[in-house]
């Protein structure tokens, strides 16, 4: 772990090589709170404890109890309060402690946060960020490993972001806080401890753009959040089997950057979507449908999905059977040529 960079005159710290994804998120919150005094952070255990994943570490001490504070365990009211604060001009960032514990807030999310701009024909904006640690692979017991992104993505009015790298965690969270619309920011739990492996510019990432993490010509792997490293590892291993695979990190599920996806698939002619959530009616179904609608005449093989099974999230000792693995991705890759 390298020493943190010196703050610049605006109080921005940025991120450094060796920094974990959790720390990068922490820096993003710190830097946005320094940048804009309207930014407030609250939720369960985010104050003195610094959040169960330490993403809010030090913010209460640095910015005071009015701008970073603990709440009672009441997810619906946490989000409801954020809505009221945004109505008065603040920019709240709330933490839902774990994916499945965010469900009590779903009514506030779907019925108010997502709809207020539309309801008031643009008179009211709600620039609220809802941070949701999500996904499995960390040995969590029941209710600690859900992938709930499709619920949010299916709700018009919300932006849905999920970073797959340390750099994006920083840049995308800063962009989310600055946005005009509500954002559900899904943080892949099992990447919290991943580290940046190179010098990282402290930049605010554009919202709504996917990125090609690895260029390739044979097939396109579409991933986001926790499956980005899986797809990259599969692409790396695939070279030994002669596959030249392109990897797209969606980063933003809503807005969905279909242009980047479609251009890639039109070049490669083959596509696989990889996500942790159950496949049935999952976000991958939307990606596949759009590829089939828009790229059908460029396709050389059926578009495949590698996803979690259509089961409630398994207990820790069985989760490895459920999660999309590098092997499962490579099996899907080879199936794209099976019938030829």
């Amino acid at each position: 772990m390298t020493a943190p960079a010196q703050p610049d005159p605006t109080g921005t710290i940025g991120i450094a090589p060796g920094m974990t994804l959790a720390k990068a998120l922490n820096r993003a919150l710190h830097d946005e709170m320094s940048h804009d005094e309207r930014v407030v952070v609250f939720g369960e255990d985010v104050g003195r404890l610094g959040g169960v994943f330490r993403v809010t570490d030090g913010l209460a001490a640095r910015f005071g109890d009015q701008r970073c504070f603990d709440t009672p365990v009441a997810e619906s009211a946490i989000l409801g309060m954020a809505i009221g604060m945004a109505l008065y001009g603040l920019r709240p960032v709330v933490e839902m402690q774990f994916d499945a514990f965010a469900y009590p807030a779903f009514e506030q999310l779907a019925s108010h946060l997502a709809k207020m701009r539309n309801r008031t024909r643009g008179a009211v904006s709600l620039p609220v960020v809802v941070r949701v640690p999500y996904g499995g692979g960390v040995g969590g017991v029941e209710h600690h490993s859900d992938s709930s992104e499709a619920y949010a993505a299916h709700t018009p009015g919300l932006h849905v972001l999920t970073p797959g790298t340390v750099e994006d965690a920083y840049g995308m969270l800063r962009a989310a806080v600055r946005g005009a619309d509500p954002v559900v920011f899904f943080e892949p739990k099992r990447l919290y401890w991943s580290v940046a492996d190179r010098a990282l510019p402290a930049e605010v990432a554009p919202v709504g753009r996917a990125v090609i993490r690895r260029a390739g010509t044979h097939a396109t792997l579409v991933a986001y959040g926790p499956t980005v490293p899986i797809a990259l590892a599969a692409a790396e291993l695939g070279t030994a089997e002669g596959y030249d695979l392109e990897v797209i990190d969606l980063r933003s599920l809503v807005p969905f950057d279909e242009q980047t996806v479609h251009e890639s698939v039109r070049r490669t002619g083959r596509a696989i979507v990889v996500h942790e959530a159950s496949g049935f009616a999952g976000f991958g179904a939307e990606v596949v449908a759009r590829i089939c609608e828009e790229c059908f005449h460029h396709l050389e093989a059926p578009v495949r999905r590698v996803t979690g099974f259509d089961i409630p999230y398994p207990p820790p000792r069985l989760e490895r059977f459920h999660l999309p693995s590098v092997d499962r991705v490579l099996d899907a890759v080879s199936s794209l040529w099976r019938d030829q």
Binding site: Q66, S76, M81, L87, Y88, L90, R121, A123
Partner: protein, 369 residues
Amino acid sequence: MATTDQSGQVRSNHDIRAPGSDFDPPGRPAGTSETVDLATALAAYRAMVIGRRFDVQATVLAKQGSLSVYPSSYGQEACQVGVVLALRPTDWVFPTYRDSVAVVTRGVDPVETLTLLTGDWHCGYDPMASRTAPHCTPLATQAPHAVGLALAARCTGDDTVALALCGDGATSEGDFHEALNLAAVRSAPVVFVVQNNGYAISVPFAKQTRATSLAYRAVGYRMPGVRVDGNDLLAVHSAVTAAVDRARRGSGPTLIEAVTYRIAPHTNSDDPSRYRDAAEVEWWRGHDPIRRLAAHLRRHGVLDDDVQLRIDADAEAFADRTRRGVRGRPAPDPADLFAHVYATPTPQLARQARQLAAEIAGNAEPEET
């Protein structure tokens, strides 16, 4: 649930005559008149008469099909008006679907107030301009909004107070309790006013809770809980004024239960004869808040037949404006469907907007992709 006591008088067990409460005979408001000056009381009376005329007009428009639905607050005017007149224009109010009279009392245009119910759009007024949140339909979900806004105001250094309205039915919702607790914990400058009108659609108060008063809820959150006669403008107004002042002073939230009665059906499509006796409704008609305040004002010489005629004329004019406005309003614009989902429409939404525009123009050619 209504029962008939030995004297043959119908009693509803959400009624104000619960143990420990005072309920003066009709025409004599509970002894709070010294806290509301006559000018304020007369202004409130005028707003109540206008509000009721508006409410009746809206029900008529609903029956005529001009509104999709109208949830009436007939009989709850002391609450609707007493609450709003206790607020400053810079304060915020968070109304429910039954609080249209409160919204017009706030000064919002009557046709814009009814936009949700005409079905033109979900909210017709600018909440930022009137500091009145959109009518909230999901029960109690606006309560935490009020808490958040109150905290944001304090955080900003303003002395704004937020007031959340809800009904007795909403007090069974989790958000109601979460909001009260959070308000108390953070000492938010917010006031919660429950209009206990006796029914959650068809379910009487006695089947919603074993508590004899919703004001008791406040005890568990360690905030003041006040139970007032919700058909007594003076009682409602003075209780809300005290709570608003307390919030503004930085002393934290208050829960007020205003006991009133929903004279009208839940909405124009409800059939209350299936779940309550007409005699119960008649008993409450005998405790009409407008008639009670009128008696008070006449006794003090500030209301006479001339003043009443002028107020009635103002109410007629307001109803006329409402009726003409609703009937003469322009058709909603389908382009609005896409324009405000996000600050900047996604490419997909922009495409769908063009598709619908082409359909409407009679030119539904599939677009080049």
